[in-house]
């Protein structure tokens, strides 16, 4: 099964494409409140990790959205190949019994 790396595509496009003189791309993850997960909110360009965090603060937390920021250079993210969608994801479509919806939950358990 193959994987792709969207952030690295421009640099591995063959010898005919000159390397663009641009800052690398970073993916930004923000934790909205203590106790919640960091969530992917978008991407930006920056020369290094420290500048990427600064930019993320300035671009994505202007309206009090976050208490913590992660950044990761996009080229380090491996992703599933769109062409593999069938073998990867379709087999689970017919396995409805994997959803835990066939049980009666006692009322006093509350929200699960």
């Amino acid at each position: 099964m193959s994987s792709v790396n969207p952030g690295a595509l421009p640099e591995t496009d063959g010898k005919s494409t000159p390397r663009r003189n641009e800052w690398p791309l970073w993916e930004v993850f923000i934790r909205g409140q203590h106790g919640l997960n960091h969530r992917h909110v978008g991407s930006l360009h920056a020369p290094d990790a420290e500048a990427a965090i600064h930019h993320a603060r300035d671009v994505y937390t202007r309206r009090n959205e976050g208490v913590s920021i992660w950044v990761a250079e996009s080229r380090h993210i491996a992703a599933t190949a769109p062409g593999d969608k069938g073998p990867l994801f379709e087999p689970s479509e017919s396995k409805v019994y994997r959803h835990p919806t066939f049980y009666d939950i006692p009322d006093d358990v509350g929200h699960m």
Partner: protein, 255 residues
């Protein structure tokens, strides 16, 4: 409050508010023009922080003045000779490098002064400074990193940053001048004597310029005339023309 003390406090508040206002307006001129999107929004944030600080300083200044003015009246209805901002704040942006160098020279001063002001014997000054100090600490981190990045960058960026430093450095000294009013405020514990901040400022500048491979000019000459309103540069009038235009053309208009 005795007359002299009141004048000293009013002058101090106008210097703080006007410097933040004029620099904030200058920085806002980059909106939509910055070299990259991320810097554009970061500069807009800085400008908004400064204008937010302006509102607090000038609101208090208007109260001390006691002539029924609002912060907006002070910002939009005074002419150049009434402004008390440092000349550094009103200088034109130049290229992005010069703008960031000017920002660093100002942020370094603010980041040293504001935490001290947060201990002011005047509770209102202390409150405003405590809020502004956090913003200034972030501004300094960003502008210092940019000065180092561009100073220790390519040959061209290095030369531009050195030219920016050479151009702006003769305006630095005005931030550390003091007069009788400053002495009175220092004695009353309202604000530190500006001159007493210089050593710490010099040490910070030396450290950052060293890292940025830039050379500090070997002169203590300083332009002055902004903080006492004696003589602003020709640039302030042009800035006010665009900043005050709407309020002058349509008096009292709101949105």
């Amino acid at each position: 409050m005795a007359g002299n003390d009141k004048d000293a406090l009013l002058n101090f508040l106008l210097r703080m508010g006007d410097s933040a206002l004029i620099l904030g307006h200058r920085v806002s001129e980059w909106c939509g023009h910055s070299p990259v999107l991320e810097e554009d929004i970061a500069l807009a944030n800085t400008a908004l922080d400064l204008i937010g600080q302006t509102q607090l300083w000038l609101e208090y200044a208007a109260e001390i003045q006691g002539e029924g003015n609002s912060a907006d009246d002070l910002a939009f209805l005074r002419d150049a000779w009434d402004f008390r901002n440092f000349l550094l704040a009103e200088l034109p942006n130049g290229d992005f490098g010069r703008t960031m160098m000017r920002q660093f020279l100002f942020d370094a001063w603010a980041s040293i002064l504001l935490p001290r002001l947060a201990q002011s014997s005047d509770p209102r000054v202390a409150e405003i400074a405590a809020k502004a100090a956090k913003e200034a600490a972030y501004h300094l981190e960003r502008s210092a990193d940019t000065v180092v990045g561009l100073g220790d960058g390519t040959a061209e960026s290095h030369d531009r940053m050195q030219a920016a430093l050479d151009y702006l450095y003769p305006y630095v000294g005005e931030m550390f001048l003091s007069d009788e009013g400053d002495a009175a405020l220092a004695a009353a514990g309202v604000a530190p004597d500006p001159a007493s901040l210089r050593n710490e400022y010099d040490a910070l500048l030396k450290r950052v310029m060293n890292e940025a491979t830039l050379e500090l000019p070997d002169t203590r000459f300083t332009h002055s005339g902004g903080r006492d309103g004696r003589m602003h540069t020709e640039h302030l009038g042009h800035l006010l023309c665009s900043m005050q235009w709407l309020q002058r053309a349509y008096p009292g208009s709101t949105w």
